[in-house]
Amino acid sequence: MDKQALSALREVFGERLDTSREQCICYSYDATGKMFLPDAVAFPTSADEVRRTILLANERLFPVIPRGAGSGFSGGSVPVQGGLVLSMERMDRILSIDEENLVAVVEPGVVTETLKEEARKRGLFYPPDPASLKFCTIGGNIAECSGGMCAVKYGVTRDYVLGLEAVLGTGELVRTGVVTVKGVVGYDLTRMLVGSEGTLGIVTKAVLKLIPHPETIATILAFFRSNHDGSNAVVGIIGERITPCALELMDRTAIDCVRENAGLPVPAEAGCALLIEVDGPKESVSAEAERVDQACRRYGAIEVGRAADAEGRERLWTLRRSISPALRQVNPVKINEDIVVPRSRLPEMLAFLADLAYRQNIKIVNFGHAGDGNVHVNVMISGTDEDERRRADEAVAEVFRKTVALGGTISGEHGIGIAKAPFLEMEVGPLGVSVMKRLKTCFDPNGILNPGKIFVEEGMARR
């Protein structure tokens, strides 16, 4: 970025523009751990500041990278070509919660959990619940179309975005969508922006749908001998016409990580575990919990536990929650993928993964939101062994090929960013990529917004 650009930005942001090495280092990474230094960081507090920034960027041609909490798993907010990071964390007001129309209007820097809690206080429910909900932002969730545990029943972020206010790559401020439950006027620009990873526009305000909060919830933890039994039970439960609000699967590799300190006894022969929750009105919840319990046993569960109160629920969840942190004990470096296959192909996918780990002689830990066929495939490597690294990269490519072959998708919720850009075409094909690039040009003709993401070679020359 040149001097003129910086001094013009200084006029917009004053003290809220920072070019110090220290601040830049703090905005150079996300949860992937990849690191690229920006030239400057700014903290906008209004849509107008964002708009003026993008106009300037078009004039002086520098990249602008929107950033929420930097909790992304695909490098989305990492400034791979330098430029200006726009940290949205100070636009963090909940502007309104309309209890009559069940609509919330928020700024993008609002932390997901804050919104969920405010809704909860009013008996309302904002369902999206990525595991990072305590720190990730609504803006980041929208840009990645994040999902979570309850996606199996309630869907993902996309399903709760009614409308947006955003600054496009041209510097124009658009309002998309509606503040009503329905709306079919013209192309669906809202959905276009959801999941666009900050490459089409910068969200400055979001209109979100809320629903009534479910009355109660029941939690069931079932252990199985094998992935085969466990994943068949998943298919079986769904086949029962029950829609759980969480259906998490942990395979043997994951259970092994936490066997000792899971906070509860794990049967020695357990090779797979399912954590299942059902919610709704009191009467129907206990009946459904019973049916889930029965179904698990029918598919060969060796032990089924159930929790009715919050405390018991916490205890059952510790098993699932302790896995992520414990992964480091397997190996220090994690390559984290989040593929999705049609639910019915889950048994096949898990069998493939076990075989792959064996063939490539590599450690792979699998768990995830099995209810929607989403598996977090964690390839764990030492990080110091060249050949192991190569085998890991090969394994990841194989996983993606298999996923696509099974009719699945290579990213359920973490997005493409830089991490999965090389595989985009594998899934959507050359025509898909080409249409996407043409759309990108409409929204952002000068390639200002978050260059180097999603598409491999895309980007702009740095000045």
Binding site: E22, A31, G70, F135, R328
Partner: protein
């Protein structure tokens, strides 16, 4: 900054961002540089030779309360406090200790003689510069704005310290040593006295250190590792010689210095390392000692309180969080004041003191602290009891600013009161 040891510590961070949720400072700063992840990455970058301006880095690392909330929330057990303290130390070696810290720590901390001198100087300056604040207790004084610390309420230094008030020959020998700590000796000698009197009810011989050195924590967090090391060496040497059964701490911060920080400060090959491990093993908090020795079971059952729940317990970050001793302090209160004790709103919110942080950025420290005490007061707490000198220092100042009717005491004062009134 060079340092392979730092690189080894920072490597554990997965950059997940979980620490953003709990950071005491983040809501005030709203910038990644304030949270643990930012600081860990800065130190990591510096250790690998990517540092920019050492002074700016020193500023960034100074901007932390060392409350340890990030460390306890971290799924990867990253030793954030250690990284920040070691980083500060490495930079202090390179740049010297920042001027604002020298004012306070200069050379005064390690030697008791120096400390007395500093105390005398501070008392003199209080006479000159401070004017009384009209509060009930009459214990509060305030710096005038000319001092550059406008609005701060500091306690008047009493004429005599706790240890100074003990007659010659008293408390020189005993199987239990009371490590009273600078603040409870010099600034709030009533706490030192209350702790001493109540420990004696255990029937054990209680002794104290005459000319006690500082625990070393203030110097350590300021980045002055050589001074901190000298404090530790002197303490370990003297405590090993005395070879007590137990060493009891009314202050949670002194205790964490002995139980944890001391051992990371002393290199393993240091001749005193083995002694230090043995000393650390015998250190415990005031509340645990009272419970173990059954002192409180001598109190008769209390009648129902007229105002149940008016006394709350504040969780000192290090005592409750790092050392996991939150339950013991509460149990002592329950026995001493019955159902006048009730769980306080925001009990585990940091008081905002942060040692040197309070001096470096008083307005922010005060904002965090005022929020802390107002949340408690709004929840119906009238007396905040706790067991850490920094927290008491800070919360008395904050109470004076927000709600002078709010009392802040050490649990020992309430225990002592319970025994004297029944």
């Amino acid at each position: 900054m060079k340092r392979e040891d730092l690189a080894a510590l920072t490597a554990a961070c997965a950059k997940c961002g979980t620490c953003r949720t709990v950071c005491t400072l983040y809501p005030e700063r709203k910038a990644e540089i304030a949270v643990a992840r930012g600081k860990v990455v800065l130190v990591e970058a510096a250790a690998s030779g990517l540092d920019g301006d050492a002074e700016a880095l020193q500023e960034a690392l100074s901007d932390c309360l060392l409350c340890g909330r990030c460390e306890r929330a971290c799924p990867n057990q990253v030793s954030v406090e250690e990284i920040v303290m070691k980083g500060r130390g490495a930079l202090a070696e390179e740049l010297g200790i920042p001027a604002w810290k020298q004012v306070v720590f200069g050379k005064v901390m390690p030697s008791a003689g120096g400390k007395t001198a500093a105390r005398a100087a501070a008392a003199a300056s209080q006479k000159l510069f401070l004017r009384k604040v009209p509060t009930e207790s009459g214990l509060h004084y305030r710096f005038p704005s000319a001092f550059g610390l406008s609005g701060r309420t500091v306690p008047a230094l009493p004429g005599e310290s706790f240890l100074g008030s003990l007659p010659r020959g008293e408390a020189v020998r005993g199987e239990v040593i009371l490590f009273v700590g600078c603040v409870f000796d010099h600034v709030f000698p009533r706490v030192g006295r209350a702790a001493y009197e109540t420990l004696r009810l255990s029937g054990k011989g209680i002794s104290v250190f005459r000319d006690a050195p500082c625990c070393g924590l203030p110097a350590l967090v300021a980045g002055d590792r050589p001074s901190a090391l000298r404090c530790v060496e002197e303490n370990v040497r003297r405590l090993s010689d005395a070879s007590p059964e137990r060493i009891v701490f009314p202050c949670g911060s002194c205790l964490v210095m002995f139980r944890r920080n001391m051992l990371s400060l002393l290199p393993k090959e240091h001749p005193l390392y083995g002694d230090a491990v043995r000393v650390a093993d015998r250190c415990e908090d005031y509340a645990s000692f009272l419970l173990e020795t059954g002192v409180l079971s001598r109190l008769p059952d209390l009648p129902k309180s007229e105002r149940p729940g008016r006394i709350g317990y504040h969780d000192p970050c290090h005592l409750s969080g790092t050392l996991g001793k939150g339950g013991e302090g509460r149990e002592v209160l329950r026995r001493a004041v019955g159902d006048s004790f009730g769980e306080m709103k925001g009990a585990d919110l940091c008081c905002g003191y942060g040692g040197t942080f309070n001096i470096r950025d008083y307005p922010t420290s005060a904002k965090i602290g005022q929020n802390k005490v107002s949340v408690a007061a709004e929840g119906g707490t009238a007396v905040i009891a706790t067991a850490c000198s920094g927290c008491i220092f800070q919360m008395r100042d904050m109470a004076a600013r927000t709600d002078p009717s709010l009392r802040v005491v050490h649990i020992a004062e309430l225990v002592s009161q319970a025994f004297s009134t029944r």
